[in-house]
């Protein structure tokens, strides 16, 4: 038996070593290692071997199988390898690679995603609300009284439909979501509300009758103005870069008190003053403030117990600054030459 094994090993190695084509190698594989091949037939002879020799012979057979397999592998590599490389056609490797088409997310979606990500990491959750709204949610609950000059900043589209008195409207700000969330949930709260808003403004390079905002609201037992500054500073540095400077200016919004407008150092000139920032060195990016007690009263929160801050920013404005786009209409024209840049 031992002799047989040695003999077959010798024979196999020399025959395989002489193989000149892939077909030869395959034929030899079947001859030696096939189901009815020579190696297997030796394995079937194992039953006739005395039991004390069985382990040794078994090992030899396994070794034989390994050697033959290795020889076949070598032969295969030799045939397909560098020795016969003359058969391989030379490529013009300067031809362009085959690019599978990969689409583009709209630049506004990308900015939304980034803003959301930053605030999610700061512990905020995303809330949403309807675009078709009532006067109450858009104005009164936000402490914007009827016939007040502060309403002039919020020109509004109204719906046709006589049943509603006062009429329904398209929300002119995402602050409506603040009210809806506070009406339905108890404090503490930490939400952002990304969404679409409408104002009947004549369209030009910096105005659009439809645009997008992200609103933020945080309410807890001991929220301070300094927290508002902290959260918005974290946001601006992540959005516009670590070296971004910030400036909080007092301002007026009916639904916050104290209120602030927030500027960042100009992304173009780093605060030196240029055309983009009107030589001021600063760019206004959002409005914010401590939630007005009248707003808390409107939703049934006790302003003595809870304090909070709110902020709102225009997504197009931020996208224009981030991407260097100077005409808001580009976002809604959907020119593929534009969209495919992002």
């Amino acid at each position: 038996m031992e002799e047989k094994i040695k003999g077959l090993r010798h024979q196999a190695v020399s025959e395989i070593g002489a193989a000149g084509s892939a077909e030869d190698v395959e034929r030899l594989r079947v001859k030696y290692l096939g189901r009815k091949g020579l190696v297997n037939s030796l394995f079937s002879g194992l039953s006739g071997v005395p039991s004390d020799e069985k382990p040794k012979i078994g090992n030899m057979l396994n070794e034989l199988k390994g050697v033959v397999a290795a020889a076949l592998e070598d032969a295969k590599n030799k045939i397909g390898g560098p020795a016969s490389s003359s058969k391989i056609e030379k490529l013009d490797i300067t031809m362009p690679g085959i690019k599978r088409p990969l689409g583009h997310k709209h630049p506004l979606t990308q900015i939304f995603d980034r803003i959301n990500e930053i605030f999610l990491n700061l512990g905020f959750k995303i809330a949403e609300g309807p675009e078709i709204e009532t006067m109450y949610y858009n104005f009164e609950a936000l402490n914007i009284p009827p016939e007040h000059p502060s309403r002039d900043a919020f020109d509004t589209f109204y719906l046709v439909g006589a049943v509603h008195e006062p009429p329904l409207l398209l929300r002119s700000q995402t602050s409506t979501v603040q009210i809806r969330v506070m009406e339905s949930q108890k404090p503490p709260l930490q939400i952002i509300a990304p969404g679409r808003v409408y104002r009947p403004d004549a369209t030009d390079a910096s105005h659009s009758f439809m645009f997008h905002q992200v609103e933020g609201l945080m309410v807890d037992k001991d929220i301070k103005f300094s927290d508002l500054k902290g959260v918005l500073t974290m946001f601006a540095k992540q959005m516009f870069g670590e070296d971004t400077k910030m400036r909080f200016r007092p301002h007026f919004f009916p639904f916050t008190e104290p209120s602030a407008e927030v500027d960042i150092s100009c992304v173009m000139c780093k605060g030196e003053g240029c055309r983009s920032c009107g030589q001021k060195g600063w760019l206004e990016i959002l409005g914010a403030g401590m939630v007005h007690p009248a707003v808390f009263e409107a939703v049934g929160y006790d302003p003595k117990k809870w304090t909070g801050f709110a902020f709102g920013m225009g997504v197009e404005r931020i996208a224009m600054l981030k991407f260097g786009v100077d005409d808001i209409r580009m976002f809604f024209e959907n020119d593929l030459r534009f969209l495919r840049q992002f």
Binding site: P130, I132, F225, G230, N334
Partner: protein
């Protein structure tokens, strides 16, 4: 508001540059939006927020600058009472509605000489871009900008009767205003009338007939407080916004009514040489001053500061507020010129803005710790966008307000549910879209016109509908559009067809874990009926797909083939399974076999596959169409097909025989049921 820096410095002794002052004002909430320096003066354009009517005057801004810098405010010196020097000409004043006009003062000034203003007066007005007219009008304008109190001078001798009345206009009344425009009046508009006719629109503009001219010898000087809302209504109704209406709408200083009259009368007497006559002061003489209790602790808590009571007091006093007490609780009495201060928080803002927002620390609040941060729908929307993008589709965002005629252009049925806008700026904003299709078709046309050849776009956004007069619905739809060709560099360009857009949806469905979806031929108003299908998931219709018919494309001026699908995304995701579970991998390797056959063209692939799967039984792991071909070997009217089959043993290795048996069963069935010939 425009302001001259030199004029401003007449009231507050600030020596710093205009640029520095602009910076201070901006950081105190009076944003200087432009600064122009010339002729040793500077013009500042200041944005005064709607709550700060006191900031609409030089004095008001001087008061701010005084609070910021600590320099003393120098108020113009005017006697509290100006006794009448003559009493020849008399006038009566009557207020009909004291809610709309709580106070009206009328003062006669006689013997004046109307003419050009002196240089100092002209200079002040010209510095802020106001055109000088004559000395009387210029003085009322000067006082308007100086004090924020709008005033009007009537030519006394042109008033009919010796009494004026402040009342609502009657329907049918008219007035020709100073700008020589005839304006119809109505009951919503407050007017000043003499015994015959309206002579001024209260708080907005005076009348042409009683205007002061070179011939005027005596005037009636009006200084009053008109209700902000009635002035606002008149301004909007007449479409006439003036420096006067702008201030009344925001609320003028009640105590400034008489002060303004005194200031103007004194200047008129000095400049125009007249004698001050009788003052009629109708209505309320004074209003109650309110006070607010301010907690020092609360100021420090909200602002995260540690200010002493006296520091807070100093700031408030510098703004012209009266503060009583010097401990934790301060009583703050509000001056009449700060109608915006109503609550404790308003005072906290005053402290903060004068102290400086930049000096308030920056802290990070403790997280609230919401568990669910995103809704299921939002998460699936984000995933869907990623999948669609990976399929080579570009995302578009189109307007949700559209032209109503575009809704009919897609043969939309259900017009009664379309949401209409009452006040669109143009026909392009008259309706809320009930479908994403018009917007996406417009985006396609825009790009086709710019020679784009490979248009593969999608929009995932809201559509709107009216359920009934009270209920409206906003739902999220997905619209996918393909037109032109798909390019894979130089190797492959394929003309887009129905199956490409179908495949895009199938990949989306599979990746979202939507199973049991079907495409079923369906009638359509927008697609060619031969190339239209409804998309069903478990027998629920979730959308439509097809090739847009020419009639619709013509409406959108598109001259290329367009394939499109609109899916009710919210319906679709009811079937989505986004939580994945691992299945164990098969123990054995599969065996692959093909079947090629020829069948009549009208045999459906779905039916053939159904038969294959039925006959293949449990060992048939998968069967799919791998080729469709026509050509010389295929008789006309027939199609050549190849299916790739994959057999997979379940528990034990199976024999070639088992596969052969299954395979021939399948062939027999295809021949028997569908008249196929196996090749």
């Amino acid at each position: 508001m425009k302001i001259s820096y030199n004029w401003l410095r007449e009231y507050v002794d600030v020596k710093n540059s205009a640029k520095q002052a602009a910076q201070w004002l901006t950081m105190a909430g009076l944003e200087v939006t432009s600064l122009e320096e010339k002729d040793k003066d500077a013009t500042l354009e200041i944005e005064i927020t709607t709550n700060r009517s006191d900031g609409l005057s030089v004095i008001g801004i001087a008061r701010e600058l005084s609070a910021i810098t600590g320099k003393r405010l120098k108020f113009p010196k005017v006697p509290g009472m100006l006794p009448a020097a003559v009493r020849d000409k008399q006038i009566d004043v009557e207020i009909e509605d004291k809610l709309l006009c709580p106070r009206y003062t009328g003062r006669v000034i006689e013997g004046i000489c109307v003419g050009p203003s002196p240089a100092w007066l002209k200079g002040h007005l010209e510095a802020i871009g106001v055109r000088p007219i004559n000395n009387v009008v210029d003085i009322t304008n000067f006082c308007l900008f100086e004090l924020g109190q709008p005033m009007h001078a009537f030519d006394y001798d042109k008033l009919i009767g010796r009494a004026i009345i402040v009342r609502r206009a009657k329907k049918g009344e008219e007035i020709v205003t100073i700008d020589n425009v005839k304006r119809p009046l109505d009951n919503d508009i407050l007017i000043i009338a003499d015994q015959k006719r309206p002579v001024a629109v209260a708080g907005v503009m005076g009348g042409f007939d009683t205007e002061v001219s070179e011939a005027t010898k005596a005037i009636l000087l009006e200084s009053a407080y008109f209700d902000p809302i009635v002035v606002r209504r008149a301004r909007r109704k007449l479409g006439l916004s003036t420096d006067s209406s702008y201030r009344f709408e925001r609320g003028v200083d009640f105590e400034g009514v008489l002060f303004g009259s005194n200031r103007a009368a004194k200047l008129i007497a000095e400049v125009c040489g007249g004698k001050i006559g009788v003052l009629k002061d109708a209505g309320v003489k004074t209003i109650k001053t309110n006070s607010i209790r301010l907690s020092v602790n609360k100021v420090n808590k909200i602002l995260n500061l540690a200010l002493a009571p006296l520091e807070i007091k100093k700031i408030l006093v510098s703004l012209g507020l009266k503060v009583i007490g010097a401990q934790e609780a301060l009583k703050v009495e509000l001056p009449s010129f700060r109608g915006d201060l109503k609550r404790e928080e308003d005072l906290i803002e005053e402290v903060a803005r004068i102290y400086g927002y930049e000096k308030i620390p920056t802290t990070i609040p403790k997280m609230v710790g919401h568990s669910e941060r995103k809704s299921r729908q939002r998460r699936i929307e984000e995933t869907a966008k990623d999948i669609l993008m990976a399929e080579g589709l570009d995302e578009v965002i189109t307007y949700s307000l559209i032209d109503a005629k575009e809704i009919s252009h897609i043969n939309f049925t259900g017009n009664e549910g379309v949401v209409a806008i009452a006040n669109p700026l143009s026909s392009q904003q008259e309706a809320m879209r009930p479908s994403l299709i018009p917007g996406v078709l417009n985006a396609a046309r825009f790009n086709i016109n710019r020679k784009a050849e490979d248009i593969r776009i999608f929009e995932l956004s809201k559509v709107y509908s009216k359920i009934n007069e009270k209920e409206y619905e906003e739902e999220t739809n997905l619209c996918v559009l393909m037109s032109g060709r798909t390019k894979m560099g130089w190797r492959q360009k394929t003309e887009t067809d129905f199956f490409e857009i179908k495949g895009a949806l199938e990949v989306l469905f599979e990746r979202l874990g939507v199973k049991d979806y079907r495409f079923v031929s369906a009638a359509s108003d927008i697609f060619y009926p031969e190339r239209a299908a409804n998309v069903l998931v478990k027998d629920v219709e979730v959308g439509i797909i097809g090739e847009v018919k020419k009639e619709v494309l013509n409406n959108f001026d598109i001259k290329k083939e367009v394939f499109l699908s609109e899916i009710k995304f919210q319906e679709l995701i009811k079937f989505a399974v986004i939580e994945k579970r691992a299945a164990s991998l098969p123990k054995f390797l599969p065996t692959k076999r093909d079947i090629s056959l020829v069948v009549e063209k009208d045999v459906y692939i779905n039916d053939l596959l159904g038969a294959i799967k039925l006959e293949g039984g449990i060992i048939l792991n998968n069967a799919e169409l791998s080729d469709e071909y026509f050509g010389e070997q295929i008789p006309p009217g027939k199609r050549g097909l190849t299916f790739s089959l994959e057999y997979l043993p379940l528990d034990t290795q199976f024999t070639d025989e088992e596969i052969e048996n299954a395979h021939s069963r399948i062939k027999t069935a295809l021949v028997g049921k569908f008249g196929a010939s196996i090749r």
